[in-house]
Subunit: 223 residues, 2 copies
């Protein structure tokens, strides 16, 4: 029984072969013919899968954007948190195979047209989140949707870029801490805020309580 | 005495002529020759001023980005506020001639390559603000620089787009209110925060004060 690889598996093979060639000999110097040959597919198969060489580099984003759209539309209790979780899904995808992700990043960095296309691609996430917030939270101030989408996307990109630029592991918790901060800035974090440095403490004691006892009780309740 | 227009005034004439032609007959259908003829300059003068047709559409952004960079580098007491003021400068520029700004917006909207280039251009403002915050505030958490730059840029773009899409005046105060919100979310607003909806009010009265008098005093001090 001969096995036909699934369309997405077949695409993955082509992407891997292309990135390998781009890294070895440069993006410009690599032809579609060379990619097709290295991946063991025909030229026409390549063009059925991808519009061109550039599309190979951004194939993951196309899949991720479609996945996130479906996932977001499923409905979520807290749409602000859902947007944050969506960026965690993107991060986890690239962090699961940092070698390939870093190779892709290096190629993009070296070709101005690819850098521009990446900026445009990133903006599609931001717009997806903005549109999702407006549809999931009717009556939301559009400025809040626009602002939160931009903030979360920028935080995600910054943490992801740290992973792509370096050689060390960047844990998901680093992104989560940044996203927690964004949720708090917008006052939409599901957990109650931890005590802030400028919180006011109100303590009432009978007038007769000795000062030392007042101090002890306050310290123990703050601890 | 014959007057030679300044380089920037000469560019403005070419930009206006080009936008007029793009609006009349479409971006693709307009040639550099037609633009040069309409502006009363030679083809070679056009190419000394602009790299190509696309660059005419984004000429203002190039000038604005260079101006903002110089202005930011001048040094500002509160760098967070300076970033906000920088976006106000951009807004004021386009709001000063909304007819031309709207014409440009219509052209960009209709040509996918121009839309992409606009996204890339907008990102240059975001990066400029990010880099400025990091240099003006050594030791700043990069996530705060990245996040604030993205938030402020997104808020500005949203308010500017309302101006470009509509036919009505959008006052600068609308942008300023959004920027005030961003400064407060980051806890960097120069003015003390106005009473928030969830502020705690502490009032102490002698036990004997009648309830109506307590209510009156509280109301008058809240008003």
């Amino acid at each position: 029984m001969s096995e036909t690889p699934s369309p997405s598996a077949a695409r993955t093979v082509v992407v891997a072969a292309a990135l390998e060639l781009f890294a070895q000999q440069g993006f410009e110097a690599t032809s579609v013919e060379q990619i097709a040959r290295a991946a063991g597919v025909s030229r026409s198969t390549f063009f059925r899968q991808f519009g061109g060489k550039e599309d190979v580099v951004f194939a993951d984003h196309e899949i991720l954007l479609a996945d996130l759209r479906t996932w977001l539309e499923r409905g979520h209790e807290n749409p602000w948190v859902a947007v944050c979780e969506a960026t965690e899904r993107v991060f986890r995808h690239f962090a699961s195979d940092p070698k390939v992700a870093r190779r892709r990043y290096e190629i993009v960095r070296q070709v101005p047209a690819l850098r521009d296309r990446e900026i445009v691609t990133v903006f599609r996430y931001e717009r997806l989140f903005d549109e999702y917030l407006r549809s999931a939270l009717p009556g939301i101030d559009p400025l809040d949707a626009v602002g939160f989408a931009a903030l979360v996307t920028a935080l995600h990109n910054h943490v992801l870029r740290r992973l792509l630029r370096g050689t060390k592991r960047v844990p998901l918790s680093e992104l989560q801490a940044a996203l927690d901060g964004a949720l708090r800035r917008y006052g939409v974090h599901p957990d109650p805020a931890p005590p802030a440095a400028d919180d006011v403490v109100i303590a009432v004691f009978p007038r007769a309580t000795p000062a030392a006892e007042v101090a002890r009780r306050i310290r123990s309740s703050l601890d």
